[in-house]
Symmetry: D2
Subunit: 341 residues, 4 copies
């Protein structure tokens, strides 16, 4: 069976695992207060070209979103996002469970625009009854988005500036950031991300790690006593080293970017295979998630050979499906897919 279900269907990139093995018997104190964790932070700071970034390592994406959002908002505030945003749709209500409303706005191709945000904020501020409403307290975006699309630097700059005008911290969910920044369609670097957001995370789980995300505060704005905040939510690793050592490997000799480039190359080949055969795109993604339109019969046939997700029913005998590539997607797998397509 060929696996295009997601980018988290294998373990870790071999170089990541090798580094874990190499450091395995070194004795280190717990809870993030160790030299290896310090070293990993330094490598991320270097990759961003910024030595003032505050960083902590968490285990997974929903956990990171939940903590970043709930530690930023005051009790009466909510988080604004595109209505397709992961926090709005696919986190089992983790944000609401932490006490906050998700405030979804209409989007285009999974992206929230500066204009839509400004319109929403102006209406909120003009509403005389807004003390009875949930106050927008920050903005969440994902990059790449849930549809694989990318903000341009101009778009992200405009959104960042609009957030600044309204006093809203901008948080970027970078679960697949490595794939996003290595897309030929991207005109941004990691430094741009750090410059244009207040908080963001660099995804590890989907980009070559066993598990782990690096949460970055870019304005000296990490909440006080953040270790206690993380512990309280059940997210403090005794062996933080397990995540930080993986990030050390990912940010050594450009491995994170190598992983990104590889998956994008495979994704572009895969996309061409499908479009060459006449499949329509459900979303035109320049990253490692590819969305096509199929009939149920086509899905049934193809599932004999390959695992992939159905994304959304489209009516009239059409269904959107998703194929995902990763660091682990080989040329042989794509050859085989091509044969059975």
């Amino acid at each position: 069976m060929l696996y295009f279900l997601s980018d988290y269907t294998e373990g870790a990139h071999p170089k990541v695992l090798a580094h874990l093995c190499a450091r395995n018997l070194v004795s280190l104190p717990g809870y993030g207060d160790d030299a290896d964790t310090g070293a990993a932070k330094e490598k991320i700071r270097a990759a961003c070209g910024r030595n003032d970034l505050q960083i902590c390592f968490l285990v997974g994406g929903t956990q990171t979103n939940r903590i970043a959002v709930s530690a930023t908002l005051r009790s009466y505030e909510g988080v604004v996002c595109a209505d397709t945003g992961h926090v709005n749709v696919h986190e089992s209500g983790a944000i609401e469970h932490s006490g906050h409303k998700v405030l979804p706005l209409p989007q285009e191709n999974g992206k929230l625009s500066a204009a839509a945000l400004a319109e929403y904020m102006d209406a909120f501020l003009a509403d005389e009854t807004n003390e009875h409403m949930v106050r927008p307290g920050m903005v969440y975006i994902s990059h790449p988005t849930e549809l694989g699309t990318l903000y341009t630097k101009a778009e992200l700059s405009a959104l960042s500036e609009t957030c600044r005008q309204y006093g809203l911290p901008l948080y970027l969910d970078g679960a697949r950031l490595g794939y996003g920044l290595m897309s030929p369609a991207s005109d941004m670097t990691l430094s741009d991300i750090a410059a244009l957001t207040d908080i963001f995370y660099i995804g590890g789980t989907k980009v070559g790690a066993l598990c782990g995300e690096a949460l970055v505060y870019t304005r000296g704005n990490m909440p006080p006593h953040f270790t206690a905040v993380i512990k309280q939510q059940g997210a403090l690793l005794a062996k933080t080293r397990v995540v930080s050592q993986q990030f050390d490997a990912l940010f050594t000799d450009g491995l994170y970017w190598e992983i990104g480039r590889h998956a994008i190359r495979q994704a572009m080949r895969l996309k061409k295979m499908f479009t060459d055969r006449g499949y329509k795109l459900f979303a035109d993604s320049p990253t490692n998630q590819q969305f096509f339109v199929m009939s149920p019969a086509e899905i049934e046939r193809l599932r004999q050979y390959a695992a992939f997700e159905t994304w959304a029913p489209l009516g009239e005998n059409r269904v959107a499906v998703r194929f995902v590539t990763s660091w682990a997607t080989t040329d042989e797998q794509l050859d085989e897919l091509e044969r059975v397509l």
Copy 2:
């Protein structure tokens, strides 16, 4: 200044206040374990024609919604409602603050239809990833709705039946129930409400009381240790008598219905005044909230004489406004409004 701001701009109906005064010096134990509270429950049961209803008295609408919803849902569940629903829009995120997502559905005239609910539930149940989504755990409706509109008995029956099919308790917010049931457009009784819902509340604050709502469980489904639940949320009155004595008065000699009929009569006269003068309706409400379309200039002129709310900007120099009548709206006030209109 004429007051059409809302139905909570005066104290209590004089008969309600008189009863509070009459019982003032009677010594009673606290926290709802008193004879007067028992008597008020009996009168409500009699008005519903049901001796098996479980009832408790709370102070306000948002409090009642928050407690009813959070005590019904499991942690991973959310409450489905019309996107115009009070819990979704105007309660400062009280539901989310209690840990639960509000799941808004499209509505017509403020009403949630059985068909829209069924479509949503079918899609949810068919989604293979729904463990990653918020599970619908109950349905919230308001009657009258936030737009003053009413469910017909057929509509509520269909919704009730759909809820039953999907295992969703149906909760009805009756903040203005007395005005709803006394509208000529209503084809339901209080008994119908009790028969077709699992939980509902009879509004006092907006229907003649100083404060207070009667929360009713219709299927023996009041959660266990409900006193502790209420206390924990800061909603347990030491002197529950203050609310229950008011409900005793409201349900003595049909006062609750008399209040409803009076306000509806005044609202219909008010509506005719406006439509006779060519004002368009923003919503066609058969109850005590009336919505018209005005220009900013008309609003400014009229506000010299009368207090009323602007509801929503409509674009192109038009604004929706709301006028509300109540038990306290006199003929003289309407005469005066007519003069200045």
Copy 3:
């Protein structure tokens, strides 16, 4: 049946009720933005001799404690109190339900000492693992305490100073403040309370009102968007006037103090009755709650005539009981109690 169960077994002091009736038909906007609420605040400010106090009106004591505490603390902080504190024992876990730990310290006669607080804080700060513990974020005391006892001005000053040294806001629960300040044992005024605390509330429910408490911020420290905070917890009254008009009456012509003095006078007579007959004190209270030690047989006999609470089993056939006086306790009731004692 004579009622000494508590100070909330009757309605409101007749003058309070009379003021509610007098203002009943005046039209006022909702949610606290009305002239009567403004007037009541002014009277409280005048009684405190401070024109800079920020005040809001809430409905009950547990609600007020829950909101004051949860709006002050950050997520990782807890509230320090005497282990007998109401928030620790008798609020059904309202503080924990809002997400915060109650940090109980040993007490004497219901009082938390500056020394006990300093010792606790020093130990916390010296503990290298304290990021894994709940951080003390504020201090709660009640005055009078749950045992009817009073802080002296020297004790409260020391506690206040210790709180200041450790950066802990001091919050005083004044559910029975009127009774406390009118005790001959008190050497403090309302101005002293305002000067020595950061937040406190003036109890209405137990001191002559139908319901209601006045929450006071003394340092310009009312949290931002506090209306939304209150609404979100289900505590915002549409008719805030109902509470504020009662406080207006309580702070007109010294009614609040008259109520306090009356109840204390009755309590002292009651205390003497019991001690003259040889009953031992369980706590030596100078306020309106009186605690005695009785045998089960004595309790059973006396309960034929009077309602009162058992407080705590003491072992060896002895039980602590509580008798409470209030504004409503008449000379005739005490005469009758004396006859049956």
Copy 4:
């Protein structure tokens, strides 16, 4: 530097890591729905001699405690534990952050007795005001305890029976279960643990894994939609395989028990070293945590050679310290410690 700080200062047992490496490139679906996770569950069931156990894999101890407790309790319930319990002292208030009070009882040597529990429950149930208190809803114990001590089978049986009588689920925190069950002082097996508790977890993080705990429900009592519950708290691993593969290794060829036996052997040698030199025990632990009493000068001297934790100041120039052994503690390290002692 010799490391006796804790049992989480190295990576994973080499056999655990080897298994992770061996399975690294196998493609598996996410979120626990994979064959390797199924296989690990089977091995744990076999080790317990029970094929009906419900198991899920989580990442860390505080996370597991928070989820197990909050998913078991109703909103008005709290968790009873020894006052030394990890959930009460060292989890940054994770339980309270989930909305529940921790109800600490006095303990002896870190253990909660059936008698203390029964006494507490009887007093609670006899208290007429207990609707105003937090209702005990479950019992938490740790085994080994925070002081390294162990319940005997008789003690655990009595506690289990008392819990059953009062309708309280019994939850056992087995963060160091492997070390506990391999102590010569233990008269219990893993099957006994499964038989005598309602919920327990088998610790991985401190017993040879990089991270991970196995949460076990023994009565078919896993809460419904538990995947959503876990996700909502940010604890659902995309690659659950990372934890389950480690547990597969731990429960292959008795590795979990081999790790336990090794650490106990090293701990007993270490204990003898200290007591032979006249150090007093702070707690008499038969497991891998050893507690001694030292002077600050002794601590300072020894810290030149070895890392260990100070546990608690004891007054009079005495401090309790903790030394911990693990699967990674070598004979050479103990030889070296002996030289410098």
